[in-house]
Point group: C2
Chain length 215, copies 2
Amino acid sequence: MDIAIPIFDRITALDAIGPYEVLSRLPGARIRWVAITPGPYRTDNRQLTLVADEPLSAVPHPEIIMVPGGFGTRALMTPNPLLDWLRAAHETSEWTTSVCTGSLLLGAAGILKGLEATTHWAALDTLAELGAKPTLKRVVEQGKIITAAGVSSGIDMGLVLAARIAGDEYAQTIQLGIEYDPQPPFRAGSPETAPPHIVAALRERTRARLAQSRA
Amino acid sequence: MDIAIPIFDRITALDAIGPYEVLSRLPGARIRWVAITPGPYRTDNRQLTLVADEPLSAVPHPEIIMVPGGFGTRALMTPNPLLDWLRAAHETSEWTTSVCTGSLLLGAAGILKGLEATTHWAALDTLAELGAKPTLKRVVEQGKIITAAGVSSGIDMGLVLAARIAGDEYAQTIQLGIEYDPQPPFRAGSPETAPPHIVAALRERTRARLAQSRA
């Protein structure tokens, strides 16, 4: 079972590694790290290298597509080979999934038109501009398309998908294997639970950072 | 603020990437991916490459040491340059931390003698053999030493440490930034909550895999 995860410049690492850590434990799973051009890519903060082992063309028909996000998604929303690959691979995939702003790429590829979908809470507006119906839910299933919210949500999405593929018991075994018994020290992980002034400040900082990365 | 994360063969990716995603968002954070020999290393399942940018000797005095785990830790528990580096770096570090079986390396370096510590639930016995007092808690603080439980616990540990370093509000901003509002689909993330037959089966599988990797 080929699970293709596209890599690109300014990716957010946990978006990719959360689902990878879960899905790689499925029976017969083979993670394929693909990119327009194979090679090393630096993450959004420039502090880590992730490696794309193969070109997109090496994996035209993955059973699972898993698109991570990051500030780098913004540079990939106009026509480019990654969007072409997504569109074509989605035609034959069993599951097409995303984490965080990875859904903006699914949207830009025309895959989310009229569908409910989610993304990082600070990017929900952009998702609407791409024809999707944005929702603040953590994991959104629409047939074979599953989108997940920001960064860490890919672990939850991975487990939901693992259960669909291999059954609840197998997914529970994976959850126990990665000891996913979350105990966040604060209740601040969603704009609905975080203190409003923290939400406002982070929204502003994200906006500034996006403007800077566009310039 | 240098945050050194050692990389080695057969590392578990999420052990490292969880805390990286949190701690890299601290003011002035500089993640240093170090190894006995710099270069690419394959993860435990052989399905991902993580890159160590620098030799251990390039970062003798990091403010934070963060040791990830993985099956590869077992080959590093007898005298070797990584244990020497850990021992020396711990003398001047502000925080010495681990995720999952990373604590076995802290233990093998003699850093956990007589202290409470944790690790992946299936490895607690080994931690005891190294002179630590194993506990099933998710994040264990003993002065400047913080150990975390299996794989995904590094996100919680990272947030606890972020709060110690930059205050609760800053840690909450990071939690909101990575949208850490966990919603696991099952209650199976700990041996105390997972169905007993799943715990038994996974414990047996882990034992077999360890025996295989020793052979």
